[in-house]
Amino acid sequence: MKNGQSGISRLGFWVAISLVVILLLLLMVQIDRQWTRMDDMRRIMNEQSKDIRSSRTLLREIEKALRSGQLTTGKPLASDNEVDAKADGFARALEAMEEPDFAQGDWLRLAFASGLKTLTPLVSADAYSADVQNYVLESMLVRNPDTLKWQGLLADDWQTSADGQTITFTLKRGITFSDGEPMTAKDVEFTFDFIMNEAIAAPRARAYLSRIASVKALDEYTVEFVFSEPYFNSLQLAGSLEILPEHFYSRYLENPQIFNESRGLLMGSGPYRLADPENWTPDFGAVELIRNHRYWGPVNPSFDRIIWRIIENDSARLTTFRNGDIDVYNALPREFENLLEDEAITDRSQYFEYMSPTAGYSFIAWNQSRDGEETRFADKRVRQAMSLLTDVDRVLEEIFLGYGQPAASPFMVGSDQHDPAITPMPYDVSKAKALLDEAGYADRNGDGILESADGKPFEFELTFFQDSDDTRRMVLFLRDLYARAGIVMKPKPTEWSVMVEDLLDKDFDAITLAWTSGIEIDIFQMFHSSQTVEGGDNFINYQNPELDKVIEAARAEVDEEKRMELWHEAERILVQDQPYTFLFRRNTMAFIDERIKNLEKTDLGLNLMSVPVEVYVPAELQLHR
């Protein structure tokens, strides 16, 4: 037994050693945690001492003014502000604050389905980081969710010159960034110069703003945007520019590399802020915004924190929502139907079905020229016939369970751009057959498949993104529909990067995709003849000189009414030509925890994420304090 004994004691020795090592490691983690906590506290104390210092300076100035007797109390400033506030972007948030059960507090907990690369503005490109930045950065104008008109947020007032090439914004007074520094017209000028600096990795934003010739701060509160050409969307271009603080970002002009590779350099004047505006990294596994206590606006944002967790697995996300650990769950049509019958879910949540204007429209694009040769889709009658054969209503009903709206054109129903007289193409097989017959397609050999005059069968491939189940189902459904009319469609599921290459090479027969959309959108890049160039978005080689002229005229027209008429004209041509078969706009379906109140559907979608924040949790329902 001697051997056995020594074996056990040796084992004990190793167990003891590994225990000591584990304990040491745990101790290290513990001390590390204390250290980060101390860092946090030091940062907060620094910020507070800065606040105290600046308020002291302010007091001294007031005292000086009082002594010299310069202060006059003639103007009823406060009431003036009140009136202004009602008319600007804060109106709805102020209304929410007047609700009897309004209370500040609690957290808003959301989830992302994939990880974020970076939160740094301009460098980031995905929609998720835009969601976060939406709370932190502010622009001069916002759209009113009810009227869709522009309203001042940072700007008090704005004037457009007669030729439409100059817009002058007057900023509000007393705006501060989240670190307490005041915001002035200089910051607006800086933001533009910063984006236009070649060293900053923001080619996307740079191209977007390339129509702006210059931005100049006329004085501390006035800033002038000059455009190089008249452009219909100039107000949106200038007004939705998110203003970056000069004192925070200017240092990166010397070291652009640091900015370009940064992950969390995010600071602005918005109602929320990153606790530490410089050191967020994706490996935190979550994004957390805290309320900006120095927020300049007339409203106090309701939530203490806004937290995004990253949960990639769909069923894990649903379970987390079931457990009440996140507040919002977005569902697909089929899932939505099932969950509506699930009492555990419906009891604890409110559900919404809405159409967000940016959701965009799906379409099938018909390639009109391939390898330099015209395809059969170059014939307008064939495209019209294909649209007539596409039973959008049934696709919506059977595959998307009715959660959507047929689209007649790229323009959103409800926006001024859309002509209410124009309706989606109906489903009409006999008319389609007549059109195809006219175009020279008929069943010549009796096999049930249409042939062209030279005997070639009417056959084409429909390219679609392989990872979307709903799209796959739709394509299979369409195959059956087309087959009934004697047209052979071959589904071609494709990986995203391959699809991008196909688009670039214009190497496809037909493709189904979706464009994102907006209140007033530009159709130049998709339908203008000049964009058939290599890499252009007119990847179907669609050319119509008449439409080109209308688009050009509309883009250069600053007067809104005249421009809308031009857009209506363009829409009529598009519906007539059917370069795309416009399919539908899909609804967004969401379950939202029932403790969140004041949710409302507006013309901009659900107001859950709108800034200034309008939703809140009544005091008695709050979970986190």
Partner: protein, 460 residues
């Protein structure tokens, strides 16, 4: 030996070159390929902005050059000896100590080294817990199954392990979340992540309301643990098994009660039976350390819950408990497959050696059974386990793709998959380079370990 080591190390270089070349070619030849165009993913872009973005990427990564040139550039970048690289993309002077640079990730726009350094600790944490667990349990079960060849334990563990081995981990992960992290069933564990947001501001160790609570909790946990340990180490097998049945049935009843709130139903019986059988076989294990470990964890869990029943209030659960609590499900999901495999491997290799002549000789000369098993048979059966462990080192870092994405853990596995999906060439190449290097080192270590374990093996 030194000679051998040097030769092996030098041989690694061409192997690694081969690996990177294959990966590079596959990445370049993949449909869609890698070009500035594919990096610009935004379909909403206007042509001129797309062009600008493409130029930017071309300049940054040299994507407009022919593929062999790109490969050579990459080789030059990672090699510690080579030409220095200027900021405008051209090559500078030859240098012997320019240092190696793994490059910048396409998708993240950040240094690959940074990205790896961010993800590595998380994967290491998962694997450093699960691998020793797998080995300890697998050896324990495998040895007992081999000793009890053809007996009840052998047959039942065989069936059980085969079952475990057949369950795909994505299914198991989703089921775990659905049953043990969901409000619908037992919400015992979190659905994902490594930490609750609330814990970030809490203490490291659990914080109790008063000192008397600390004492009560300590007494409960320590008392129960010691009692169970004593019982499981002293009692004879039959009594232990009965103890296991009792504990299992009790737990099963509580579990069903927790779900239904009813006093008795079919589910109660089913759960009691299942858990009773499970605990019976666990308590019946012949392996002492394994039994002690089971007793310890049971004691800890039961002790804490009894303390909570007695009115001990946790003001804060603390960082440590929270982290452990988050790790339970991922660790189980990560280990059960490997456990089943290794246990069966241990069993078969032990059986082979138990039937060998030297074992008979050892028994014949009067060596006691324990010594025969652990000093003779077990040592000789280690060789296949070492072979398997050669793949361990790379898997330590590679992480588990499936488990990490189901449980929302940002580790290396998730990074690798994202890199492949988004055609992030620099990242894919770096990850394959590192895991290739580790695989080769793993094999080398395994070869050295052969020589250590088996005196017959020699490399001189």
């Amino acid at each position: 030996m030194l000679h051998y080591l040097l030769r092996r190390l030098l041989l690694m270089v061409p192997t690694l070159l081969g690996i990177t070349l294959v990966v590079f070619v596959v990445m370049a030849a993949a449909p869609g390929g890698i070009s500035a165009q594919t990096l610009v993913d935004g379909m909403e872009l206007e042509p001129q902005s797309r062009k600008a973005l493409e130029d930017y990427y071309n300049k940054l990564y040299g994507l407009d050059q022919p593929a062999p040139v790109q490969y050579l550039r990459w080789l030059n970048n990672i090699s510690p000896i080579g030409f220095e690289r200027n900021t405008d993309g051209t090559l500078g002077a030859f240098s012997l100590w320019k240092g190696s640079d793994l490059g910048t990730s396409f998708r993240y726009g950040r240094d690959v080294t940074d990205l790896l350094a961010e993800r590595l600790p998380i994967t290491l944490l998962l694997n450093l817990i699960s691998i020793p667990l797998i080995y300890a349990l697998a050896i324990g079960i495998g040895v007992q199954a081999a000793r009890d060849r053809g007996g009840r334990f052998d047959v039942s563990s065989n069936i059980f392990l085969l079952g475990l081995w057949s369950v795909p981990s994505m299914l198991a992960g989703v089921l775990f979340i659905g049953f043990f992290a969901s409000e619908q069933y037992w919400r015992w564990f979190p659905t994902g992540g490594l930490i609750r947001r609330e814990t970030a501001g809490e203490t490291f160790l659990p914080l109790f309301a008063s000192f008397s609570d600390v004492v009560i909790a300590a007494v409960c946990v320590a008392g129960l643990t010691l009692l169970l340990m004593q019982l499981l180490s002293r009692l004879s097998t039959t009594y232990r098994q009965w103890l296991g049945v009792l504990i299992g049935a009790g737990l099963g009843y509580l579990m069903a009660l927790n779900l239904y709130g009813q006093w008795f139903a079919g589910l109660h019986v089913a759960l009691m039976l299942v858990l009773a059988m499970l605990m019976r076989s666990l308590c019946g294990l012949q392996n002492m350390p394994l039994r002690l470990a089971i007793a310890g964890s049971l004691g800890l869990g039961l002790g804490l819950s009894i303390a909570a029943q007695l009115g001990v209030t946790f003001l804060q659960n603390g960082y440590l408990l929270d982290r452990i609590w988050h790790l339970v499900l991922p660790i189980i999901a990560l280990s059960y497959g490997g456990l089943a495999f290794l246990a069966k491997l241990t069993r078969s290799s032990l059986l082979e050696n138990l039937a060998a002549d030297y074992t008979r000789t050892a028994r014949a000369k009067g060596v006691d059974e324990e010594s025969v098993l652990w000093r003779h048979v077990f040592r000789n059966s280690l060789l296949p386990l070492i072979t398997v462990s050669a793949t361990l080192l790379p898997s330590l870092l590679a992480g588990s793709v499936i488990i990490e994405s189901i449980f929302s853990i940002d580790g290396m596995g998730k990074l690798a998959v994202e890199a492949v999906q988004t055609r992030d060439r620099e990242l894919v190449l770096s990850i394959t380079l590192i895991s290739g290097l580790l695989t080769l080192f793993g094999y080398l270590l395994a070869d050295i370990a052969y020589a250590l374990v088996d005196p017959r093996v020699s490399y001189d």
